[in-house]
């Protein structure tokens, strides 16, 4: 018998005696049927796209992320030029994509592309990482990235400034909708990596005082394109 069978055998043996249902143990609850979506218990989200963009903006601000609406890739590139100047960027990391290509062209800095592999030290020395995403989540102010939409795993976490380019139709109301979107998109062919990014990297491990830029990016900028 292999380990898998040993452990599954122990579990089956253990489960022969039924456990009391959780909603009954303290005598106050009644059995709650599992809702298909937990949304009705979670923080509320408006129904229209404008309301959702507004909520995302507020949440992003609370999370110390920068959120900005741009009317074109050109405008986004121009804005990044300002950030580059202020931040003294010399080199950026990015992947190829229909949003990253025109914006990076406008920005015009030397770049490390992660498509098809890269040297870790090259990426580590970049001043910013430019990626796309799968979805923006209004309820939490999160950006959902995946390996294909964010140039792999490291591009969105290794450089000290992460810039996300997203389209308005990528805004979703809540986590349920975001997960549903990737499930419908990838079916059984999921990428090996998916991540909800909510603000720049942070820690409170020293005296519970918030410090941004613990190991990941110190800054997160989200640019919303049409």
């Amino acid at each position: 018998m292999n380990n898998r069978e040993i452990i599954l055998g122990r579990i089956r043996e253990a489960l022969k005696i039924a456990a009391p249902h959780p909603a009954l143990h303290d005598g106050t609850g009644t059995t709650t049927p599992l809702p298909a979506s937990p949304q009705k218990w979670l923080p509320p989200v408006g129904g229209t796209l404008e309301e959702q963009i507004e909520l995302f903006r507020r949440n992003a601000e609370d999370l110390k992320a920068e959120f900005r609406e741009c009317t074109s890739a050109n405008e986004a590139g121009q804005y990044l030029k300002k950030l580059a100047l202020a931040g003294g960027w010399k080199k950026i990391g990015r992947h190829s994509g229909e949003l990253t290509d025109p914006v990076a062209r406008e920005l015009g800095l030397p770049e490390v592309r992660t498509d098809g592999g890269y040297a870790v030290n090259d990426l580590e020395s970049c001043d910013a990482g430019l990626t796309e995403c799968e979805a923006l989540v209004a309820q939490t102010g999160s950006v959902l990235v995946s390996a294909p939409s964010a140039g792999g795993r490291a591009l969105s976490v290794l450089p000290p400034h992460h810039v996300v380019l997203a389209r308005r139709n990528q805004m979703v109301p809540d986590l349920t909708a975001a997960l549903q979107r990737v499930q419908e998109k990838f079916k059984d062919k999921f990428p090996s990596f998916l991540s909800f990014i909510s603000g720049p990297s942070r820690t409170g491990d020293i005296e519970r005082i918030l410090v941004l830029g613990a190991h990941g990016p110190k800054k997160l900028t989200i640019l919303l394109l049409p």
Binding site: A19, H215, G216
Partner: protein
Amino acid sequence: MNAHARTFNEAARQQTADLRQRAWIQTALSGYYAKRDEFKNRFQSWPAARDTAAAIKWEAVNHLDRYLDEFASRLEARGTSVFWAPDAQAARDYIVGVAREHQVRSIIKSKSMTAEEIHLNDALEQAGFEVVESDLGEYIVQLRHEPPYHLVFPAMHLTRQQISNLFHDRLGSAPTDNPEDLTMIARRVMRRKYCEADMGISGANFAIAETGMISITENEGNARLTTSLPKVHVAIVGIEKVLPRLSDLALFLPMLATAGAGQPITCYNTLYGGPRQPGEPDGPEEFHVVLLDNRRTELLADAEQREALHCIRCGACLNVCPIFKNVGGHSYGTTYQGPIGSVITPHLRGLQDWKHLSQASSLCGACTETCPVKINLHHHLLHNRRNAVRERPARFEKLIQTAFVFVMRRPRLYEWIGRFGRILQPLQRLVRGTLLDPLRAWTKTRSFPPVAEKSFRELWRERKKP
């Protein structure tokens, strides 16, 4: 009293006398309380969310065989090696084996309580591998050669001065009392480690059966770097971490963050479903998932206490526990501190050795009230007490109880004992709290109420007199 209980009593006695440390823990937690409440109130219904979370974990744990099998099969289908570890030794051997096979030089590790539970770092170091903890708090306690103080906040007991001194001694950094500077010192050290390490070890917060993925919750980005750059990634996962569906995360991610850290959501919630897939630019060549039993199935077999396996390790019960706040995290001498640790440690490491933790409770129920998955924690402490006595009757206590019942059923005798006490109490006062005092266990830290001048029965008789 066994050695573990003696150590606990001694450590608890020292910690409770350390008023500075106790005040420090209160201060460290005060911001958490405010934030936790703020974000709970943003939920449309936190109580209903708890009911739902409890029901989902119940479903997962009570059909664990099915969901684990599904989880493992889906991971394997996409090139992940799944190792089923019946005990800690098997898990350690496997992970050391993976490190040897790849002849790794340095290992970077992100926070994992399950790895603490099996003392993984010790095993790897004994086998000659360097392991660096990448979570800031874990790194600090690793440098101090200490276990984590708290499930979620490993270094919450330390002040910035202590951390500055530690970094100065161990890393040669300039002293500073700025938390940001201290964080940046660790960041610089760790950056080199991420780029050099050839193996990354992580834990997991959830295991998603439906899609065969692990979910890791963190704020710093250290787990993401640990799992992105090294060529081998090993995740160690307790078998109870399973959730049936991917969509369950929509509830559990915000609840874990709110209950655990007083955040609406943590900074990074990442799903890993395999090693680097064709067409992906990076990620490990190999992904190993170690599913750890280590006596969890014994807890599972106890239908009454099975729900203790619903725990998502948020640490909320520690934060509200009057015992934890006074005795501190290290006094427990366990991997899992606080109420949940006192409930599960007797199952994982032996009831008779760890039953004293179930006595170290005021049974106030603050833990049960705060638990996001509604584990009936303080009742399980009572269950542990009962089970411990059933297994090994406390004869002396039984004798006292029998004597008590004997006296209480005989009003005349009770009255005489009362009178006797009235005479003896002034004598006891002379030796109060000293070794001669028969009531010392009580009186060394508390006062003993005086026996009334007259008993109720005496007063009754007097007033009935015409």
